[in-house]
Subunit: 604 residues, 2 copies
């Protein structure tokens, strides 16, 4: 069985030493509760829960999958009990609004915990995973009655939430949905239609399930402007607020998937189900994006968690597995062969995983500070800036960390050689589980269009400038620091190139809109590498300072951080060379071929 | 269910128009039988077999897997019948030596067919897949008695072969094997030990299974110099040459794997099994490489087949699936949305698959000509050169086509969006099946060491020069061709850089052997991209000539070929920029970190 330990030391480094979380928390509304001691205790406890409770169920869930019988779904053995412990421990309410029973701690803390949950058991994590987004949508857009009826239960975790968007003929293009909402005389609606790919759409972990459903009103305008959001509970709350009458929504079937077998991915049939409008009519898409943005960052964190889990296990294997002698001479002379960690290419794979996981963690915890400020900030200008920066970084967190999460979990398989392909070791499960993260909540292609089209070009690069200016300031401040030169010079160069590339694509897009789509994915990856380069340079700076201060107990840790930063700059960052050149190549090589000519090599 | 059509038009392009197979065949010993008509008929018939017989069993095999009961393995439903048809059709003997009942056609023809088999049903293809290698090892190294006893049956296909190398504690490092061979008085040996990961080690498709087993003689030197090769049949042939007494070799268990579920991957227990020495004592490794090289090219072809299969299905989906409008304005105005093939990023994914599959096919069919010359050539100098060029290209075919096969099959999933993750569509099976190809018969890391260390640096780059000189000559010959300039200029530049990079690594490796391993995988990928660039330039030239000649019926095909070449040069070849820079970064960023420091972020 794979092992997993929450990377507490590394989280402390990022939060306390690099991003100054203590000061950040102190400035938040209600942030005074999140003292360093409280934070440390919560993370430790969370790591224990992930290790003791979730990790042992990860392979169980993969093997057993879920069972649908008479409309009821049984989650794999132990999942229900683990969820009960999770609720009992107060985890769902950690970062929720005290007005609805939450503990009011900063959202960032929940995100740090989320990494541990995803690393130890992604499929399980998808049961509570969408409740936050559902609660957020209700909190921001729901009426007071809806909040009273649903929020407390979601926050407590005794009910879970879903997002019901996709239909079999449309996922990305939600304007095409066919699910209808017909008004009742009592102000409620009757929802009818079929939704697919509904994660945790039906299960036995919680006493009720709160579906947030996109549907069309009878008089709705065509397309995306005619979508409304409804809350449709599995059981309608009774007068006491407990699950009452069974509503007309049922799981029709479960999908057989490549991975996350332990999570129930449901076809949900709504048959005159009673629903309640959330937000204004026909403004469902905007309300939905409240959940969607939370979910997207959540999926990025899934990529991060899987990187770390895979890394930890391939490292253990690389130290244990004896195979061949080091080319520079035997290292473990008392053994019949050297542990494979001595081989440069194995180290390359391990360092790739390590650099991506640790860099990804910096990106997530930086983004988490923006979420904190948006939610609990006290300065309105700062909140506004955090919101637009968060909008910029969300597609990067989502797509970059899942693309590289897939790479990192595959490196994990590769370190294991043939054994990596065998289910027993668990390394291939990380790959299968990671595969969905590049797809759901908007594919990488969709994230890339969001980044380049909506978040950057649509406001003339203003938001991007906020971020590149931050990088620029950092580079300027460290320009005289000879010991950081190896990082600052390339970072400053790339930061400038990022602006140039953006300008070039923007200019071309003015005469041909296809240029945006043609550049988008390479652009997103480019942006991701430069973003991580910024954080790795900051990490290197922090580590160098700590080494200078002579923190002996941790000097190996800081030295490793510095070495990893060097690896990142020298062996991963060169990928920007390829992406930059591909961005510059433009749309022509993609658009020239006739649609009918693609298959002429095999079509008769 | 996924579809598949053998890419006959594309095969004809590569074989007849680009690589002049008719003239090549005419120069081979016995090659006169392989007339263009015969070749065309065989490929067509092979495509039909793949489509009609193998394709329908691909998902069946994935879902059912294999069953072990009482030491006997049952392959999935229909596999046995399909194999009977395969033998009945005379396919196993196609390219085999007439001295043993083979049809004596050139090996390249078998390789072209192999692509179709791998594309339509990889797991099934692994049953007959290793028989060729086993037969080759016997043909080159076996005694006359062994040849008489086993070769005819292997060639006919009524018996299949295996390669029994790996043990649980060693795969790459075969010097560590523990399986022992004790001499009998009758000249045979008693083999005892356990082998793992034995593809088709036990099954019900053939009446006998011929294991080629690495084991150690009692007095064997330590390590790889003390390995011998034995043939160990499941049933010992009786006086009539039919399966007689059951031998002491049995399948102990089946592996549960990420993919190729339809193939039985066996733990094989040898318990005083009767075996017969193949080749000289303690020279087993050299004999094994005869099979291994055949198998490695075979695995590269698996990567190619899966690319093509995935491509064909994602193309069909991209034409069918309606989602969003083209950014440059609606295209399918009669429909609620445009087919996703209009979107530049979808086209990027499709073109990536297409360029890799078609380029991979050129590489394989070029390599296949080298195999033909080595096996059936008539000029000894030409044979010698073909042999060393084949040695150079084998690790590239194996590792580059499987690395990119994994990428291409993943692009296929990505084109399908969420549906790609669902088993029913079959796209995720291609990914799971492709995953093993990067591992078995030597991981990508091992191929890369073989390429850079053994095949290039160990002979001072002499073999590489033969190939880069061929590219250089091509570039020189076309230097005045303005219409090819967009290909020839970058190709010539990269070809020169390839030499420079090799020299640079070679120089560094003289003072630090770790430099070889540190550069190896990036070097192999770099080499692969440049190699494919050479073939794409040749393809562009062929297509341009055909367009000039005004072959109207095929002009769309040729234009698509030219467009794909452009896509390859502008949107894939820039990856060499990243790999070149990473190669230049050298070993230091990989070797500096202390082994004990890798895990300090999570280890307590």
């Amino acid at each position: 069985m794979p092992s997993y330990q929450a990377p507490l030391r590394d989280m402390r480094f990022v939060m306390n030493e690099m991003l100054d979380y203590p000061a950040h928390y102190a400035r938040l509304h209600n942030g005074e509760d999140a003292t360093p001691d409280v934070v440390a205790a919560i993370l430790e406890e969370g790591g224990r829960f992930a290790h003791d409770v979730l990790l042992p169920l990860n392979q169980v869930g993969d093997r057993e999958g879920c069972l649908l019988e008479g409309g009821e779904v049984k989650a794999p053995k132990g999942f229900k009990q683990a969820y009960a412990q999770y609720v009992e421990g107060g985890w769902p309410s950690l970062a929720a609004d005290p007005a609805y029973g939450g503990q009011g701690l900063p959202p960032s803390l929940g995100m740090a915990l989320s990494e541990m949950i995803c690393a130890s058991n992604l499929a399980w994590g998808m049961y509570p995973g969408l409740s936050h987004g559902a609660a957020d949508a209700l909190r921001h857009h729901g009426s007071d009655e809806l909040k009273t009826a649903y929020l407390g239960k979601l926050v407590e975790g005794v009910w879970t939430g879903t997002m019901c968007l996709t239909e079999s003929h449309c996922g990305t293009d939600l304007g095409l949905i066919r699910t209808r909402a017909t008004p009742n005389e009592d102000g409620a609606y009757r929802i009818t239609g079929t939704k697919i790919f509904i994660s945790a759409g039906e299960h036995d972990l919680a006493e009720n399930i709160v579906h947030l459903v996109l549907a069309k009103l009878p008089d709705a305008p065509e397309g995306a402007r005619g979508i409304s959001l409804f809350v449709v509970p599995k059981f309608l709350p009774d007068a006491q607020g407990n699950p009452g009458e069974r509503n007309g929504v049922e799981c029709g079937s479960l999908e057989h998937k490549m991975g996350i077998h332990g999570n129930a991915t449901c076809v949900m049939n709504f048959d005159d189900a009673k629903g309640f409008l959330v937000g204004p009519p026909n403004k469902g898409l905007a309300c939905m994006f409240t959940m969607m943005n939370v979910a997207r960052i959540g999926v990025g964190i899934q990529g991060l968690g899987l990187m770390e889990a895979s890394f930890q296990n391939s490292l253990a294997y690389a130290r244990d597995r004896l195979q061949m002698r080091s080319l520079s001479g035997p290292k473990a002379t008392d053994k019949p062969a050297d542990p494979i960690i001595v081989h440069p290419d194995v180290r390359r794979m391990l360092l790739t995983q390590k650099a991506l996981a640790e860099g990804g963690r910096m990106l997530v915890l930086y983004t988490a500070q923006l979420v904190d400020i948006v939610e609990q900030g006290t300065d309105s200008a700062e909140k506004e800036q955090a919101e637009s920066l968060l909008g910029l970084l969300t597609p990067i967190v989502k797509a970059f960390l899942t693309e590289l999460g897939f790479e990192a979990t595959n490196e994990g398989v590769q370190v294991f050689g043939g054994h990596g392909f065998i289910q027993e070791w668990g390394m291939e499960q990380f790959v299968r589980d990671a595969r969905i993260t590049r797809l759901y909540e908007g594919t990488t292609g969709i994230q890339a269009l969001d980044l380049l089209g909506r978040k950057i070009l649509m406001n003339q690069g203003e938001t991007l400038k906020v971020f590149t200016k931050e990088i620029h300031k950092f580079c300027q401040a460290e320009a005289g620091n000879a010991s950081l030169k190896e990082f600052i010079e390339p970072l400053a160069r790339l930061n400038g190139e990022w602006g140039d590339l953006t300008m070039a694509v923007g200019m071309r897009a003015m005469s041909d809109r296809e240029e945006v789509g043609a550049a988008s994915v390479d652009y997103l990856l480019y942006a991701g590498y430069v973003t991580l380069a910024y954080f790795w340079a900051r990490a290197a700076r922090t580590a160098q300072l700590a080494l200078k201060e002579g923190n002996d107990a941790s000097s190996d840790y800081y030295q490793a951080k510095l070495d990893t930063a060097r690896f990142y700059y020298q062996r991963l960052l060169p990928r920007t060379r390829a992406h930059a050149e591909m961005i510059r190549a433009g749309a022509e090589p993609l658009m020239t071929m006739k649609d009918g000519a693609f298959g002429l090599g095999f079509e008769v």
